[in-house]
Amino acid sequence: MATPTLTQTVDLVARFPGKVTADERPGYSGFIVTKESLIEVATAVRDEFGFDLLSSLTGVDYLAENKMEVVYNAYKTTGGAGLEFKVQVERVDPIEVPSLTGIWRGAEYQEREVWDLYGIKFTDHPDMRRILMWEGFEGHPLRKDWKEAFYEEEIKPYKSRWPEGKHTFAEDRNPFHDNLNLPKDFDPEKYVVDKEEDLYASLERHTMKDEEGKMKTDSVVVNLGPHHPSTHGVLRVAVTLNGETVMGLKPVMGYLHRNHEKIGERNTFTQIIPYTDRLDYFNSMSNNFGYVTAVEKLMKIQVAERAEYIRVIMAELSRIQNHLIFVGMLINDLGSMFTPAFYVFEERELILDIFEAVSGSRMMCNYYRFGGVVRDVSDEMLQKIKDLVFERLPAKTDEVERLLNENELLVGRLKGTHVLSAEDAINFSVTGPVLRASGVPYDLRRADPYSIYDRFDFDVAVRHNGDMMDNYLIRFDEIRQSLRILEQALKQIPQGPINSQKPNYQIKVPAGEAYGRIESPKGELGFYIVSNGKGNPYRYHVRAPSFVNLTAIEKMCIGTKIQDFVALLAMLDIVMGELDR
C-alpha cells in the first residue's frame, strides 16, 4: 500500500522576486535567499507553503569562494518532499545571519551549533552561546582553515602510511605531546574558570522572583551530571529550582564531542561508514542506513533487490532492540533496578547475536555499503531471524507488557506528566516516537518513504496525549509494527546479488549536495552531504535526532517536579554518542 505523495511545486522565486534566486550550481537544488529577507521568506515557507517542521539547519564553509552558507531543510508533517533554502554571506567576521528561532523553535540548538562550529552569529537568538565546545575555546573547528592538534593532512589516505610507512605516534606530532591546542599567551597558573557565568545568566531568564511577598525564597541552582546515572552518559543539566519545582533548565553538552563531522570530512566516503556506527551506538545498522541512503541519493545508484530487504530486516531488528533497551533503562532510572532491564537484555542479546553473525560485530556493525550490503545473510541465519520474529519476540513483548504496563507505581509516575502538545512538538522539531506520542502521525517510512518501505503493510504508531505514559506505550506499538514489517520482509525476501556495485575502495561521488534521512528508532536521522566530485566529502553533517529532540526539554520541564526530570531524560531516549558527535 503506497502512500500518495503530495506533489505541490513550490516556487519561491515567483513569490519573492528579487529576494530569492534558484540555486543553480550543478548538483544543487533549492533556493538562495538574501540575508535581509530571510525572516520574511521563512515565515511564508511555514505559514503559506505549510512546511511546519524545520528538519535540519547547518552551515557550510566555501573557503575558495569566500562564502559561508547556512542550509535549511524544511518539511511538512503531512508528508511529501521537503524544501531547501540557503543563505549566503561573505566570509568576513563578524558573520551574521538572522535567527529563525522565532519561527521554528527547533532551530535553537542547531543555530548554537552552527555558531560554535562555524562562527556564524545568529542575531536575535535568545541564547547565543557555544554548545558543543567549551566556552573559551579558540576558533571554530568546522571552518576549513581550522586545524586540529593532531593535524596531518587535509584528507585521507595520508601519504605517510605507504609506501614509506614508518610508524609514529600521533602525539609526537604535537609540541605538547598531547591532544592540546591552547590559545596564545595561555598560562595555566592564572587560568580561572569564569565562563560558567554565561550559563547561569541564561537560566536567570526563567527565574521568577518572589511575587506573593509573604515569604522570600531564593531559587537554588542544581547541576545534574555530568556524572549522573540517569544521564546515560555524560550530560550535564543546570537547573534552577523553587523548592522541588523546576523554574529554568539548560542542558550542557559536548563532553563526548569529538567533531565527528570534521573527521568525516577528512575521511573518504567509504571510510565514514564505520564512523557512523559510533553515533548512536545502539543502532549502528540504522546509522549506516541513513548515511548510505544520503550518498546513494548523490550517486544516483540503485540498490540490489535482496540487499534492500536485508537492510530493512536489520534496521527493524535494530528498532526492536532499541525500544526494548529503552524500556529497560527507563524502568531502571525510575528505581526498579535491573529486573526489567535484564529481562529485555536477553532479547537484545539474541538480536545482537544475529548482527554479529551477519556483520562480524555486535554493536559496531559496519554492514551497509553503497549499493547494497557487505555480505549475504545465510539461510540458516534467516531461519534464526524467523524463529525470533515469528515465535519469540511477540511473546516476550507481551511478557514485558504484562510485567510493567499496569503497574500502579509506574502508571502513577508517568501518567499526565511532561505533556508536550502536538503544536509544540512540531515547533521544536521533535521527531520520532516522542512526536508521534503527541498525536502527530509523522513517520518517514510513510511520510517520505525511502528504501522499500512503501511495499509493506503497517500502521504508523500514534498516541494522542503527549504525556509520559503515551511516550512509553508507543514504544510497544512500534515494536509490534516493526514485527509486522519483519514478517512481510522475511516472507518476500528474494534471492539475488547483494550489491549492485563492484567493490571499490576509492568511490568518487558526483559533485552536488544531498540531504538523506531515515526514520531511526530515536527520530529523524538526516545526513547532509556536499561533494565536490572528489573522493572525500566537502561537507558532512549529521542531523542527530537525540540532539534536536533535546531542544524541547526546557519547554517540557518548566513547572514540573525535579524528580520527574530523570524519567523525562530517559523518555527522550538520548544517546550521547549521537548527541555530542
Binding site: 602510511r161 605507504w162 547475536d353 499496569e406
Partner: protein, 207 residues
C-alpha cells in the same frame, strides 16, 4: 483494585524464578551439562532459552560466529620446504582504505634494479587505533590480510604490532574461518585453471 497491576507483574517474575530451576533440573535429569559445555552455551543463546541466560566469562566463552572480527592478521602459506610465503604484496590498499589510518607499510625495493618487490619490508599496525571495521580484509585483492577471532588481548602498554607479530599461517585462517577459506581457495583454483586454459589456448595457435 489498587495493586492488581503490581501482582500481575510479579507473576511474571515469579514464573521466571521457577523457570530457572525447572530448566536446570530438566538438564540434570536428562544427564546433560547445562554449564561449561558447548551444547549448554548454544542452548542459552537459542530461541528456546529460558532460565539462566548468562555465560560465565572467562570460565565459559561465547562461541563466536565465523564472521566475527577483531584485529587483522597477515596470512602466510607454508611451503613444502618450511619457508613462509607471505601473501602480502605491499600494494597499500589496506593502508589507504583504513579509516583511522592505523596501518603503516614500508615497500621493499630490489637492491639492484630499484623496482618495487612484492613483499613488505615492514608492516606496522597500531592495535590501539584500529577500530576493527574489517575494511582491510574486505578490500585486500590477495586474501593476505584477514580479521582475527582472538579478542582477550588486554595490555597495559601501547600495542604496535610489527610484521612478525601479525603473521599467522593459512592453516590458522582455515581453522577460524572454514567457510570463507574454502570459498576463496575454490575461487583461486578456478582462476588459476582459467589462466592456464587461456595460456594453453594462446600457445596452441602460435605452435
Amino acid at each position: 483494585m489498587y495493586g492488581l497491576g503490581i501482582l500481575k507483574g510479579l507473576s511474571v517474575t515469579w514464573k521466571r524464578f521457577w523457570d530457572t530451576y525447572i530448566d536446570d533440573i530438566s538438564w540434570a535429569v536428562s544427564g546433560k551439562k547445562r554449564y561449561r559445555t558447548e551444547e549448554g552455551i548454544k542452548h542459552r543463546s537459542s530461541k528456546n532459552t529460558k532460565g539462566i541466560f548468562t555465560v560465565q566469562y572467562p570460565e565459559e566463552q561465547l562461541i563466536v560466529p565465523e564472521e566475527f572480527r577483531f584485529l587483522p592478521f597477515l596470512v602466510y602459506d607454508e611451503l613444502a620446504d618450511g619457508t613462509k610465503d607471505i601473501r602480502c604484496t605491499s600494494c597499500g590498499i589496506c593502508a589507504k582504505v583504513c579509516p583511522p589510518q592505523c596501518i603503516w607499510i614500508v615497500r621493499s625495493n630490489d637492491p639492484v634494479t630499484g623496482k618495487p618487490v612484492a613483499v613488505p619490508a615492514a608492516y606496522y599496525l597500531d592495535a590501539d587505533i584500529c577500530m576493527n571495521c574489517g575494511f582491510c580484509a574486505e578490500y585486500c585483492p590477495f586474501d593476505a590480510i584477514k580479521m582475527d577471532h582472538n579478542f582477550d588481548i588486554a595490555s597495559t602498554e601501547r600495542s604496535v604490532y610489527n610484521l612478525e607479530r601479525l603473521l599467522k599461517p593459512a592453516s590458522y585462517y582455515a581453522e577460524i574461518r572454514p567457510q570463507n577459506f574454502t570459498m576463496e581457495e575454490e575461487a583461486r583454483k578456478a582462476k588459476e585453471a582459467a589462466k592456464a586454459a587461456k595460456a594453453k589456448a594462446a600457445a596452441a595457435p602460435a605452435a
